[in-house]
């Protein structure tokens, strides 16, 4: 190839690269818009007056910004703060319970050598393969017979049922990544298994536990069908169910109030997510760390 030919080839190559890069950015921009648009719509609507929120020709930006929808949440007739507390309480306890129960289960699945270890592991996972609705009827009957229907404890049991298998498998992955020599060293140092689990394994997979807890929490937080089915008293309701029950009427939907409530519902999760973002990344990439 001549010098000129080579130069032309390079030129074409760099032009091709530029187009490729442009397409990449266009794709990313579209994905970003796709993700953020509903969030923007939620925030924007929550700041609109009732008239503007419900007019037939919707506005992209609120003409006159109002916090009325937010103040309405705190001071209105609905026990919105109660819904919020209910959500925090049930989801947080469900996440903690799921992680605490999952730790020894995952440890046993990861380390103990018993004949049906892998079968037991898959059996646990089968629960996740059913759609949530399938478990609804049996869970309802169990809660009904145990007197836990319409109680937060019953709701926590429901959340944990679905979150636990996921937590076991996720934590098992983190424990698998802990080099066995570290545990053997602790055995040689004279520690029994349960202490090794608490004093060596748990501190080492701590970021992973946080990650798992957040995932279970998120799933419970966004769960609509369980609280709608298991809780019958409005005061005991969680946020998603309360949104559905209170803002949507037969003849009229309070879009502004609903969006303000949605913002308040989404915000804690986002804050939790960003706070533990670093440890989540560390948790999700735990396999690449060899423990030293």
């Amino acid at each position: 190839m001549t010098d000129a030919g080579r130069q032309g080839f390079r030129h074409r190559q760099s032009a091709g690269r530029r187009i490729g890069r442009g397409l990449q950015f266009a794709g990313l921009g579209f994905a970003l818009l796709w993700t953020l648009a509903p969030l923007y719509w939620m925030v924007a609507t929550s700041l609109k007056t009732e008239l503007e929120a419900t007019q037939l020709d919707p506005t992209l930006f609120p003409h006159s910004i109002t916090l009325q929808n937010y103040t309405g949440l705190a001071g209105g007739s609905l026990p919105f703060m109660q819904f919020f507390v209910n959500s925090v309480l049930t989801c947080l306890v469900a996440a903690i319970v799921a992680v605490v129960i999952a730790i020894p289960a995952a440890y046993a699945l990861s380390r103990a050598k018993f004949r049906a270890a892998s079968q037991v592991g898959y059996l646990i996972l089968i629960v996740r393969m059913f759609p949530m609705v399938v478990l609804l009827a049996p869970l309802y009957l169990i809660l009904l017979t145990t007197g836990l229907l319409d109680t937060h404890f019953g709701l926590i049991v429901g959340y944990t049922t679905f979150g636990l298998p996921f937590a076991v498998w996720m934590i098992k992955g983190f424990i698998d990544a802990v080099p066995i020599e570290i545990e053997e060293a602790a055995r040689v140092d004279g520690y029994p298994r349960w202490q090794i689990l608490l004093r060596i394994v748990v501190p080492l997979i701590y970021p992973g536990l946080i990650t798992t807890g957040i995932f279970v929490l998120m799933e419970a937080w966004n769960n609509l069908i369980y609280p709608l089915t298991f809780i019958t008293t409005l005061d005991k309701q969680t946020l998603p169910a309360a949104l559905q029950l209170t803002f949507t009427g037969q003849f009229k939907t309070d879009w502004g109030g609903m969006m303000a409530a949605s913002v308040v519902t989404t915000l804690p999760l986002m804050i939790a997510f960003f706070t533990v973002q670093r440890s989540m990344v560390r948790g999700l990439t735990a396999g690449s760390v060899t423990g030293t």
Binding site: P179, E184, V188, D189, T292
Partner: protein, 357 residues
């Protein structure tokens, strides 16, 4: 301190038996090295001694106590792992103090013991650091220190130097021996490096394919290997082997000529027809030497080591001999040479059973 007795120990993993009929007596305060290639069963035997794996058959004794069913935490052993097994979330101090806390020692005792060990291992300046803030050599020393502070009856070391560079390995070898002299515990050391085994062990156990091949001092293993495997594994450069067959009363025929043997050697060979001659590099001289056997060969490669050189010579398609000799100018690959062999020093092996004669 403890004697260790391994009596007919075997280990199965499912249907596969990885250790066969291991018998071994390790004396109190002895530094014994288990050596062998990968998959020879040396680490498995060490883990059985530690109690990290259950024994399938046979018995293990510490002094007169049968320890088969004794949990690892009750065996009073300390172990140094191949990749150290340090607790990443604890400081150097905490790593070393962890076992002492379990034993219920008070703070002053723990502090004194850890600082003593740290001083001996030059770790005093690093006590507050985490393992990831240390170099490989320092981590290795922490692992040693963690084992030392416990004053164990038995010290077990599983290839502790394999992750270090060559220079550091030599330094740490001395360090480990120094520590052993100081703590006076029975030590079992696993390595695949025969140089490490030769330089460190009071006695060496050579293992191959899950069986103990030979137990002896470094000199015994080098001078009187019990079979061809031990002969080839012990010594650097490795022993060379030449196939031979009986030719008359006092001679052996090889691919490149006949060599004479002594009456004692002839008696050892007996009626065997085929055998293998094992020749150490230092028993080969370049050129013709009166009274020694001559073999013709082609130089394949010359390894220059400074004061001396290794000359790798090819005798036939599958036969190589390595000669260790002082620096001599002018040896080139493909050069035809005559090698003189000191036949009094050679080793003879049965060609079929590979046992030494």
């Amino acid at each position: 301190m403890a004697d260790i007795r391994v009596a007919g120990v075997e280990k199965d993993y499912g249907a596969l038996t990885v250790l066969h009929d291991c018998n071994l007596e390790i004396r109190d305060n002895e530094f014994i090295v288990l050596v062998g290639p990968s998959g020879s069963g040396k680490t498995t035997l060490l883990r059985l001694i530690a109690g990290l794996e259950p024994i399938s058959r046979g018995d293990m004794y510490f002094d007169e106590t049968r320890v088969n069913d004794l949990d690892v935490s009750d065996r009073d052993i300390a172990m140094v792992f191949q990749n150290y097994g340090l607790y990443p979330h604890m400081s150097v101090f905490e790593n070393m103090a962890f076992s002492l806390r379990r034993r219920g020692l008070d703070r002053q005792q723990i502090d004194a013991k850890v600082r003593n060990a740290a001083e001996l291992l030059n770790l005093s300046d690093y006590l507050q650091r985490r393992p990831k803030q240390l170099s490989g050599g320092q981590r290795q020393r922490v692992a040693l220190g963690r084992a030392m502070v416990r004053d164990p009856e038995v010290f077990l070391l599983d290839e502790p130097l394999s992750n270090l560079d060559a220079q550091l390995r030599v330094q740490m070898r001395h360090e480990i021996l120094r520590v052993h002299q100081r703590v006076k515990a029975t030590a079992v050391y696993v390595t695949h490096d025969q140089v490490e085994a030769m330089t460190m062990g009071d006695r060496i156990v050579v293992m191959h394919q899950g069986r103990i091949q030979q137990v002896g001092t470094p000199e015994e293993l080098y001078d009187q290997p019990c079979n061809r495997f031990v002969a080839s594994f012990i010594g650097t450069p490795a022993m060379g082997f030449v196939a031979a067959r009986r030719a008359g009363e006092g001679g052996l025929g090889t691919a490149t000529g006949e060599v004479a043997i002594s009456a004692a050697q002839a008696q050892r060979i007996g009626a065997r027809g085929n055998l293998t001659i094992g020749i150490r590099p230092e028993h080969i001289t370049l050129g013709e030497v009166a009274g020694q056997a001559q073999l013709s060969a082609t130089v394949e490669m010359v390894e220059m080591l400074g004061a001396e050189q290794y000359v790798h010579c090819r005798l036939g398609p599958d036969e190589m001999l390595t000669a260790r000799m002082p620096r001599t100018a002018g040896l080139r690959p493909d050069q035809k040479v005559t090698l003189s062999i000191d036949m009094d020093a050679v080793h003879l092996f049965d060609a079929e059973t590979e046992a030494a004669l």
